[in-house]
């Protein structure tokens, strides 16, 4: 695929991982692993010095780097301040429309039909009755004007309104002691956040942007907006919310991005 020449954004489709290479060299990779972590650790540093030779995607290197990333998840959870509020801004600073980003271009967005759409609930939730858009839009609203920070480095101020996620989880009888809240999206995107972030006062299920119903490219009819995570954690076009204790990799974490992605 030639997407890379078109744009440098990491949220564009990248070449899919060719599984055949791994399968073909499975025996070799296993043999390398058995030779010990120490040797791998030593050569990890040395290998980076070989110019023109990209070692990052080699399995032992990826394993080590992803182990560090998992460690970083734990560090981020440990330094997370549950009641500490992110800076908020004035309506005059709000960028309209919000900045689009997804794993495809804006013209490829497939709008969700609000009339037939339903929010499904799954996992450790007492009342799993699905929600229609009018039901959700009738819930008490909270507005947050917060900074959106993308892992790429850009940021903008956005004005989001919708039901507070903690309030919503309480309303449906979710197990607030569970570890994760998963979001399954209409575009087959998945994201999940830790329960502490889900219960943060500035985490909402957004239905409106700058006092208008969220437009299609930005997640109509329902998206997540949390002030404590990088942009890609904020799932759009949510069609199901699942409260669970079991961890599964999400859209970007599968590709090696940090799962916790706290800011």
């Amino acid at each position: 695929m030639s997407f890379r020449t078109r744009t440098l954004s990491l949220f564009r489709p990248q070449q899919p991982i060719d599984q055949r290479v791994l399968t073909q060299h499975r025996a070799l990779v296993d043999a390398v692993n058995r030779r010990g972590v120490l040797r791998g650790a030593i050569s990890l540093g040395a290998l980076t010095l070989l110019t023109g030779c990209d070692v990052t995607e080699e399995e032992p290197v990826q394993k080590a780097l992803r182990a560090v990333s998992t460690w970083n998840d734990r560090v981020q959870a440990a330094i997370f301040r549950p009641d500490h509020l992110a800076p908020t801004f004035s309506p005059a600073q709000v960028v309209k429309p919000p900045r689009f980003n997804a794993y495809y271009d804006i013209e490829d967005v497939k709008p969700v039909n609000g009339a037939t759409w339903k929010l499904e609930l799954a996992g450790r939730i007492d009342d799993k009755r699905p929600w229609t858009a009018p039901q959700l839009y009738a819930l008490p609203e909270q507005e947050i004007i917060i900074r959106h920070i993308c892992v790429e480095g850009w940021d903008y101020i956005g004005q989001w309104s919708g039901v507070n996620l903690k309030g919503f989880l309480q309303r449906v009888g979710a197990d607030l002691t569970a570890k994760y809240v998963y979001f399954h999206c209409a575009d087959d995107y998945t994201e999940s956040i830790d329960m502490a972030a889900a219960l943060h006062p500035q985490t909402i299920l957004a239905t409106r942007y700058a006092n208008e119903t969220i437009a299609d490219p930005f997640g109509f009819p329902l998206r997540l907006r949390t002030a404590t995570k990088l942009g890609y954690k904020n799932a759009k076009w949510i069609k199901a919310i699942e409260v669970t204790n079991s961890f599964t990799e999400t859209f970007w974490s599968k590709q090696g991005f940090n799962w916790f992605a706290g800011i």
């Binding site: 990052t56 560090v68 590709q255 090696g256 800011i263």
Partner: protein, 225 residues
């Protein structure tokens, strides 16, 4: 913690660069290499300056996530090693001995010498004023790199710190300028190390034995002027 390990009664004196210094120096070199290369990869995804884009050949990581993985691995090496180095330098008195006193007159004199290419470097045990300033300066830059990096990594958790910089892009700019300062330092540092190879050898082998005091010029035995 302890006094400088000077044992005047024994022949076994400590070396110009004790083993811990050498280990930390080269650990830091590896960490800096990783941080700059992966930092350039991260920068490329949303450049601060339209004219500046780091070529693929000099960045670390094929895709964005790999640059991020290396950066958030390297940060631990850089910070832990850096803290160890600063603690060591302060506790053993190495900083005090090598980098101070620093007088304005000495600085002006050395800068004058440097501009006339008259800088002497035959005595590795003594740093001239320009060296002292460079080493102190780069340590300060290192600290600012970590502080700005922390603000960049956690602008909400450390919002008090982040607010000191103004905007989020300002934090990125400071972090970028720290990198530029480190690269500038490296150009001088590596050039001079190559021009005075015995200084490079000393950082590998430890160099000649010293008694802890600034040695006379001929103390660096066997050294070429």
């Amino acid at each position: 913690m302890s006094a400088p390990p000077v044992k005047s009664n024994t022949r076994q004196q400590h070396r110009l660069h004790p083993l811990p210094v050498r280990v930390m120096h080269w650990t830091n070199a590896a960490a800096i290499f990783i941080m700059i290369g992966s930092g350039w990869k991260i920068y490329n995804d949303d450049v601060l300056f339209g004219f500046l884009h780091f070529p693929d050949a000099v960045v670390i990581g094929k895709w964005a996530q790999h640059g991020l993985q290396w950066h958030f691995f390297g940060m631990w090496v850089f910070v832990i090693n850096g803290l160890a180095y600063l603690s060591y330098g302060i506790a053993t008195g190495r900083f005090r001995q090598k980098l101070f006193p620093l007088s304005l007159r000495e600085i002006l004199a050395t800068v004058g010498d440097a501009l006339r290419f008259r800088l002497a470097h035959e005595d590795l045990t003594h740093y001239n004023a320009v060296q002292k300033i460079l080493y102190l300066g780069i340590m300060a830059v290192g600290v600012l790199t970590v502080i700005s990096g922390l603000a960049l990594w956690k602008p909400v958790q450390f919002s008090e710190l982040a607010s000191l910089f103004g905007s989020f892009q300002a934090i990125r700019l400071v972090h970028f300028l720290c990198m530029a300062a480190i690269v500038g330092f490296l150009v001088i540092h590596v050039t001079l190390a190559l021009l005075v190879p015995k200084s490079l050898v000393a950082m590998l082998t430890g160099g000649s034995a010293v008694d802890g005091k600034p040695a006379p010029a001929d103390a660096a035995a066997g050294a070429t002027p």
